[in-house]
Symmetry: C2
Subunit: 446 residues, 2 copies
């Protein structure tokens, strides 16, 4: 049993003003975070001083301008392109990992391979790519389409996209560039590998015009929980970010993914599973609940009702009394399981519309922990030690205060228990996460 | 006559190890520049301390791996994605402009608009986009194509691409984001503008998910000299980088572009024309020529012959004696005017193959100035005062030394003559260049 040396991986999931939908209205929140680079410098340095493995950025290739009156009351319309932002943050940090989301739906693999290879070079081996497929028609409409391709086709494209990117990342062997001024030989032509990919979705000749990554290649992260998503992750992901509501869900997902790995010749340690955690920390339980209630009370009913309408599958609830019960709902084409669970919850607990939207306003499906440093540490420790997680992605309700509180209150408790590092040991994101540096494909074949 | 207050714009055109094809073999050159972020930090700070308007990065979406033995002897295969690199440099500089090339051929306008808007936010208004079309099949083959679309179609796409990007940059008015915590209003919905573009090449709904640029919008730069290129530039460019060999060429181009502007309702000052200058500086003329000769002698014949073969239109010269005459050439489909000019030059001056490739090894068609600070300043002053240029893009033969020598020797002479600033006055790239901050399209219409 090596439990004493096994430690958490921790990501700081940064999102403009905060993960709670009303986080921007918190008195201490940086309300202009989405347009404020200095704010991100502060957060990145804060997370690095606390020795987080990485900062993580989500992405969307658009603005959901369909519910305009609701949108105008949330801080979700102005944000930075994540790779561009992380490149700037790379220049003002030294050790922390830098993980950006880029969709396979609206980009070209050559460009994505280049940008992450560049980020990895600039940061000295700290880049990670969160590979996603896009799921909103609003985004598709910014890219010459009316609607999205269906789920299966999106995942098929994503899988081929991944393989092209990894192929391009192996264009050069580690010691290709000799740069001998005397002989005039700049690179060893035998160590250049031209991909010549011809697949269903992509034809990409290569080679990539960026040197091989300091960490072999950037870390590949994924977040899909569907069957297609799990299959792709089991073959290709090195880190999985995932949303769970309960320990049982987390444990089942963890066992499922780790169980799929041998089929791809992979070991359980080759993939780190990191559920999202939405923490509200107090010095007492009452203080934590009071803080949470203060956030919840700031959810504008227009925003809450629109959010709920979207989550339950596009049914418009704006005509109903916000303090009345959920009406009977017609069958829809939306994500049925989530709708079903929510409506069942509302019936069982006799929730009003307001109470129901408050349930989803913060953690967006992730585990919400409202408590003291000890009770939050207990919960993380259980998930970690009992087969639910290899680490966590911390989703602060508002920034910078929500992250500061987690660092000041919860991290010392985790460290006392030996669950989280007190300093960095390695220099690259792979080293932080305990992932091996991959050998060049040619070296593997030889 | 306001000549005394009119001053140069100066760009520092950074290119890995240097603009001379053998620059990387210079004893002081940073041979690993293409994979060395710290090198770029040093160059950016050097150019900023010298008060250059901007640093400028070219780009290629591929590696020309067709002449492998030649390619392996040049420093042209490993470089950084330019926007990603400039974002990192934005974080460690304060005032200098940041101009990156991104092709309209292999990207999507929504992504390009986002990345430059983000760079502009991060840098506090210092971003510029050099809009180009790609001209190599090697690049096309990294993006699902065998060959490029023809010249006219590429420019048609570029023009529409430009209009979409500018439309997206006006998604938000300057004061859209009110972020009032009390009322819960994050933005003023009346100040959000959805583009809904439907054109021949693109359908892009918008809005952009980045706030309006600190400088209204990033500066649009172009480099095309063809008829299609000039027409697009006259309508859309704010800066034009261009290659000329002689003052007469420069003057004719300058007059042509400035003369086209009124047709688009634009003033001569709305477009800054900046030819590329390849300087080799010595304390005496003899020293400058000696330095240049030392660079020329380092051109590997394999590289020189391959370069010449490409430039004269794809005719393979590798079987001929490098110290013998240029052979009779068949008609080709390559760029005939350049081939014709070069062959005529070789015949007139009775040049050998080696002598001819040395003529094109450095400045790649740009003006080559080999001399003292006084003679170089004389030449720049003439171009500037006699209608050939509004400024120059300085293409150092090798880095960092070639740029350092220009700064140490030529800049003081230009300053003595009142031709170049001694300090920054403004904070944005537009302010450096003397370009007005564009009002929002809606404000213009109102």
């Amino acid at each position: 049993m090596t439990r004493s040396t096994r430690q958490f991986a921790l990501g700081a999931f940064l999102m403009q003003t905060g993960h709670h939908i009303a986080g921007w209205r918190h008195p201490d929140a940086q309300a202009d975070a989405g347009s404020n680079f200095r704010h991100y410098v502060e957060l990145a340095r804060l997370a690095e001083a606390a020795k987080f493995d990485a900062i993580f950025l989500a992405d969307s290739s658009g603005v959901r301008s369909t519910h305009l009156s609701s949108l105008a009351r949330t801080a979700r319309s102005d944000f930075f392109d994540p790779v561009t932002l992380l490149a700037a943050l790379a220049a003002v940090t030294e050790r922390i990992g830098l993980i950006a989301t880029v969709s396979t739906s609206f980009h070209e693999p050559y460009n994505v391979a280049r940008r992450f290879a560049t980020l990895d070079q600039i940061s000295g081996g700290r880049a990670g790519w969160n590979l996603v497929t896009s799921s909103s028609a609003t985004e598709a409409q910014n890219f010459n389409r009316e609607t999205l391709p269906d789920h299966t086709e999106r995942y098929e494209r994503a899988a081929e996209f991944h393989d092209v990117v990894l192929g391009l990342w192996d264009s050069w062997e580690d010691d290709s560039f000799v740069r001998d001024k005397e002989s005039g030989i700049y690179f060893d032509a035998d160590k250049l590998h031209v991909l010549k990919h011809r697949g269903k979705h992509f034809q990409v000749r290569g080679p990539l015009n960026v040197n091989r990554s300091p960490q072999g290649r950037p870390v590949v992260v994924q977040a899909g929980a569907s069957e297609d998503g799990r299959a792709l992750a089991a073959r290709t992901a090195e880190v999985i970010f995932v949303a769970h509501q309960t320990f049982d869900e987390a444990k089942a997902f963890y066992a499922d993914i780790k169980g799929r790995l041998p089929a791809y010749g992979r070991d359980p340690d080759d993939v780190k599973i990191m559920p999202g955690i939405f923490p509200v920390v107090g010095r007492t339980q009452a203080e934590a609940e009071e803080k949470f209630e203060a956030l919840q009370s700031r959810v504008d009913p227009v925003v809450g009702v629109a959010l709920l309408s979207t989550v339950i599958g596009g049914v418009d609830l704006s005509g109903y009394d916000v303090d009345g019960p959920i009406p009977e709902l017609p069958e829809t084409n939306g994500p049925k399981s989530r709708q079903h669970l929510l409506v069942e919850l509302a019936r069982r607990d006799r929730l009003t519309i307001r109470q129901l939207y408050q349930r989803i306003a913060g953690a967006r499906g992730h585990q919400q922990v409202v408590g003291t440093s000890a009770s939050i540490a207990d919960q993380l420790q259980q998930w970690f030690e009992e087969g639910g997680a290899d680490g966590f992605n911390i989703m602060a309700p508002w920034f910078p205060g929500g992250l500061e509180e987690f660092i000041q209150l919860v991290l010392p408790e985790l460290r006392r228990r030996g669950l989280f590092r007190t300093d960095y040991i390695g220099r690259t994101l792979r080293e932080h996460l305990g992932l091996e540096r991959p050998a060049h494909a040619r070296a593997v074949r030889a």
